[in-house]
Symmetry: D2
């Protein structure tokens, strides 16, 4: 399909950050304009996916669906939302990890099976999707998208002779990996979280209405009250009789993604009762305790390094300054400068402030490094602006391993820490000092038990079996 | 998905004509820009479907697909076609008969099954699609579109363990109804026509390349040579080894849709060697023989009545005049006039020429009447412009029955001839005379054997079993 | 400004016809939705200009204006027209003769001068625009468009101390050339026609409302009654007190453009009481009288040659056939075929019907030839389809001279008849015979006095002084 | 003209900040892709105007111009910039103060006068535009836009018999008010600053190329070196012979807008050598000295209050916390929530973090207050999140008077400080404390002499005569 201004290909790739793949928002609210509420909920979760957005609404008989490539306010307007009447809605924002950046892959996925209509939204990544896909194809299944989520849909339909709850329980036995799911039937809203609780999902309430959302910030935005997180292995079913819980397989060891605390989640969200920005500030304090540096100022790499930089400054007593100005108008598109102006692309986004940096020994705090290329450019910019020393302090450990559970950290061979020693990295980015927060320091800063977390990207200790032959499933169809 | 200017809902409904549902164009051409050739082929077949257009291309490994709502030049431009490189292409233009007017229903349909990729384009209508759909759902199939064509796709996949040719042969045993199909695999172009030959499909050649198309006008446009029609029940397979034919079930009685000659096909196309416009002119002559009228001038309802009106004038000796001016710029959209200007909508499209009509006894020739509402308005316009008598002569018999084989003639209760006697119709449209061409006269004018044809809309004699419980399959999903 | 799908550059240039430059429609109607009526009026005049469309409405105090590149239904929709409330409106469709194809040049032009607001729409071409522009620039005027019309606006403002009628009378003394104008002030609708009456303008009435329009077909479309043509040199002022006329300079010799009858106007329009299509049919009859040819069939070049071909067939007794099928879906854009498919572009638009042409001696009738390139291609197509002889008969004389009064006939050196003898042209287009209607025959066919007409493109006899140094005024600003 | 998604009307009006009206960027660079450089320069100046953007390029003979409503990356893409070749370019971003939000008012304005082509971009506001407009209309001038800038254009043309420099000098004598101008002729780039230096304009150099820009951050972004500010009353002319200066009237008292330091300019820009973010931090420190408050945390209203909040925290020793989370994805459009969700609109943009605020006495720092409505909502949100005390500290004095020099502070009757006492304001916003920085404190924090500044919005002391009868000039034409 033709996309208005398909910014997808133009996404700025400065960020050098792992990419969150999806955000979920669902509501069961008989007296509410559920499509509008979902719109606001998705707006609050926009940081979890900027490639596509979609909403499906049930009025008890029919589904109305709209989804497209783009940000929430680009995909939806009053005219589109107005006819989407109903009492249940689920919505999805997506950054693709499996499947290409195509509108056909946008979610929620909608289909009719033996028992009626189903709409499904998925956050996470299956580790055995290819296996199941092959198994289904042998039985004559066809695939129109390249997403893991279509695999889940097909399984639900295969088990479709009984109730939807039974079909989901059977499906959860087949699929491996990380998944938080929202499922909508004509008259039910269902939330599912995998046995390890890798991806977040929480429950809120607004009057009589129930809400399921990836992060608490979405509850705040729509004015709902936080009730509790969905438990690992739990199926939450909401219908006319209220909310009931089915506890399926729950792994003894949980594996909540620690990177949600480090970078992915919005600062104002809470997980397991811990506020994200306060955890990040504590990571900064811990960093200062682990690596005290003699310096004149502490500056963040905006915006993701701000909380940790404030923590570092607080614990170290070194003044916090805003040494890098971020252009708030840089959107997803701009024209690539030619060779003559190669620094312009970076300066368009970040401009060092000479009046702050000149003659200073600088501690620059960032939350994480993936490939290291952006750091290198920033360090150079700081020196050009007069910084006499630049020490890079990172508020998480080196990323050594890829994530198979739904975060795009790039291939292993692109991870700078997987290839180079600490000192080599320091030399590569040309910093005077480079320090990463320790694994223990990071986990301690969360204020939660250590074995709650998946930290496999730092440790290689994968809680859930990973596939031998990794790679995006090649559908070899490019539908645009 | 968001449509640029979704004209669909705005289609002018003056026409009061049966709607053709689809046009097909496929090419196997190793040294050609197959996407471009298909674009021109679809352009020539635009009259067969104006709702959506799509092209899929195979380069031997991958498919590139683009489809969207709109006319061919609205859906495609250079930038979109340029990257669609390959050596096989199939294309489709669509006016929906089953399935709603949604981009998800646009064709070709593309999918991956056990043996690889398949793209399918369909012209026609299955009479047992709901039955098969239910049978498949019991086995766990899910449906994402509301088209008959998805049913065909699922069956091919169910029979997917053997060769594609075998899968098609098995599928043809299951499905009932009218279908001309184009199927593309990674390395083959396949054409299929149902056992009755209801919908057309012909073979052309351009250098080494083979072409399959709904009408010969598409061959002319791309500069290809006409080879022959695909036979009823024939599967034509084109690949690196050339063209080979598999003759499956061929019904003794054929049932080529006579309405292709009456109205649907382009005047410059030929079927079974007979040119469409010459057949229409002969229908007009036959009409004059059957119903001589005393009149001063013969005028057509432009454009579809022109050939028959010329025939009528020729055979009757009454001068042919252009008494109605058609606005060539009326597109698919215009703003509905309010009550004060209710005649404006019609006059925007057709304006009677007073200088030609004043004081004249007029024979007006049209090819067919469905609901009769437009005729009524035109007759009134002619009188207002000074015509003293208006005789409506129709170059086909009254439409008494709906079509189940892919032509949208509206529900039976909307067919004016199904509800009213000839004289009632004449009174309704307020004409001085009304005459329809006889069934025999129509069939004779084709110059082909009578039992070649399906004329069920005139006679109720359905060659292929029709479903008991008719109606568009309600998917109850509205995806936009 | 950014144009949606700027078809402008993609206009098919097959037509090889002079281009009409503009259509005007204005209404003074206190109880009507004047913007809507103007929309329908412009729709009926779309053939006079397809590049841009615009409407301005006065509510007595303010003007609401909308204009853009594109066809009327592309430029306007309900949402845009809805807020355009008022009791006077003027509208304009444009094909550029002076000024580039830019939205800044779209009309009506709107401005505020000493006495208030003025909106102006212009059909025609000034011959002394550059002279006046230079004169005004010496006094400090600036120009933001490249149109003649801005020159008229500036002159009205210079004479703006008195009444608008006085300002127009003074302006008409300064400007030379062809012009029909609509002028709207806060409370008046004014129509102006130049002293020679080169471009048409007529008056209609619909209840209490008055209408001014380029052609009578626009009156028919909106359901208005034709009153009379505006006289050469007449100013027609319509306001709350009704319609009054100011007769300024009227040239003894009129110079109505005969090409309006030959090609430009819509067949259902009348000028000086003569219907256009009947005049064209008579031209065809006259052509048969002047040049009888031995042939089997008469075919038109659709659509412009149809009326004359019918006349030729009628007078000669040779059967009229539709030998060329015109694709009704060819819009303003399509993708240019590459070299391998060079005939495709023509065939996309016109397809010869072999069944009609094979073995026939063909008389092909067209209304006019400008460069001759398209004729040449069509003649070749007819031969390829089996025609044994092709005689081209043209229902107007050879075009020897360019038009300076608002019709784009191309530069003189592109006019085939200006460069080649009749026999050379015949050889160039490779026809067996070539005949043009005589000047006298053409003028006689109009049924009007010979000295009513400007036929300068045929004769070189320019009624109004033409500029020495011709050429589009180069503004050297390209505003997009 | 039709705007894609006319965000204009949808601009979020939370901000409650004065609106900067324009940003200017010009370059004279024979060997550079001047259109691209200007694009990046405008991108860096986007904060100065988000309604429209435009670029004009001269190649020595012709101008290429593109402008439209929207942000820089929305208005321009590679395809549009590619053909804009030349060696001089000027660009403009605009937030309208005079003139409506219409594309016709977008700049640069381009025109042809006696001596050739001129393109003009204007930052500021004339105080005698209506007077001059009337004077010009008496002489027959017409106006097509509602901007002050068109008045300047007309004056230049009136004085157009001599050189462009002379015309500019004469024009500067006529016009009163605030203006920084860029003027481009076929071969010159000219910068002009009014006699009081109200609006900024600086000079940069990049290799041989000269740049003129509103702020130094644009120089940084394109990689240019800062040379100096343009002086009040100075005309800077850049052509093939280099840069030369003409010093016209320079007022003894300068009047640089102090609000550039307070809020308008980008933090990384410098004026008169003073860095904006450091000045803002010092304002925060000064605020802490003037108004020490007993509190637990200092939080900013993001983003404009951050620098001052850091300064306040630093000087007071109270910890700086990020208590309000700003949604980075809130663009210019979102759907208005209905009554049931009235808090959602604010929470969509700003979410209080309970974990930080609960039980705390909060000092909240903002840079300025216009109407006070947003403050009131934020204070309420903080309390709902558990803050026990909320003190609002504002790093500039109360705004008592409107600005006539190009900043949109709203009408006087909307300025909360113009209508209410300090204590009334505090009650209105329901804060426990409210303190504004003193005028002296603010000016001292700039580090520059007091009489350099215009602070009329705080003091009512207008350096330049203001008009008696204020109000946007009503053109009474609404062109869209």
């Amino acid at each position: 399909m033709i996309l208005g201004g398909n910014g997808v290909a133009d996404v700025l790739n400065f960020d050098d950050k792992p990419k969150e793949e999806c955000g979920l928002f669902g509501i069961y609210g008989p007296n509410l304009d559920v499509a509008n509420v979902t719109y606001y909920g998705l707006y609050a979760l926009q940081h979890r996916g900027q490639e596509s957005a979609g909403i499906a609404v049930s009025d008890g008989k029919r589904f109305k669906i709209h989804k497209d490539m783009g940000l929430v306010p680009e995909v939806f307007d009053e005219k589109l939302l107005e006819p989407m009447k109903g009492f249940i809605a689920i919505g999805h924002v997506r950054y693709s990890t499996t499947g290409s950046s195509l509108v056909a892959n946008a979610q929620p996925l909608n289909f009719r099976y033996l028992k009626g209509l189903i709409s499904l939204a998925h956050n996470g990544n299956l580790t055995n999707a290819n296996e199941i896909r092959h198994r289904l194809a042998l039985n004559g299944s066809v695939f129109q998208t390249t997403t893991d989520s279509e695999v889940i849909v097909k399984l639900i339909a295969r088990y479709g002779q009984g109730s939807i709850e039974e079909a989901l329980m059977k499906t959860m036995i087949d699929i491996k990996g990380a998944f938080s799911l929202l499922v909508m039937t004509e008259d039910k809203l269902i939330g599912v979280r995998d046995a390890y609780g890798v991806r977040p999902l929480c429950i809120g309430k607004m009057g009589d209405a129930f809400i399921l959302a990836s992060e608490t910030c979405a509850l705040d935005t729509v004015g709902a009250e936080f009730i509790r997180d969905v438990d690992p292995g739990e199926i939450v079913v909401i219908d006319g009789k209220g909310l009931r819980s089915i506890q399926t397989l729950k792994n003894p060891r949980q594996a909540f993604c620690v990177f949600e605390f480090v970078y992915l989640a919005r600062p104002d969200s809470n997980f397991s009762g811990q506020n994200v920005t306060l955890v990040r500030r504590e990571m900064g304090r811990q960093l200062a305790r682990e690596y005290p540096v003699e310096a004149d100022i502490v500056i963040p790499v905006p915006d993701s390094g701000i909380a940790a930089a404030l923590g570092y400054a607080e614990a170290s007593g070194i003044p916090y300054m805003e040494g890098l100005m971020k252009n708030r108008y840089i959107g997803r598109t701009f024209i690539q400068p030619d060779q003559k102006m190669r620094e312009t692309a970076v300066r368009l986004k970040l401009n060092p402030i000479q009046g702050i940096l000149e003659g200073k020994r600088v501690v620059m705090v960032d939350d994480s490094i993936v490939r290291g290329t952006t750091c290198k450019q920033i360090v150079q910019m700081l020196r050009n602006a007069g910084a006499v020393e630049v020490h890079l302090l990172v508020s998480s450990p080196p990323i050594h391993y890829p994530c198979y559970y739904g975060i795009d950290t790039s291939e292993r061979n692109q991870l700078i820490a997987a290839k180079r020693s600490l000192d080599d990295i320091r030399k590569f980015i040309a910093a005077d000092g480079l320090h990463y927060l320790s694994l223990d320091g990071m986990l301690k800063a969360t204020g939660l038990p250590v074995d709650n977390f998946c930290a496999a990207c730092f440790t290689g200790d994968y809680a859930i079996e990973i596939p031998q032959n990794v790679g995006k499933y090649s559908m070899e169809i490019e539908v645009d």
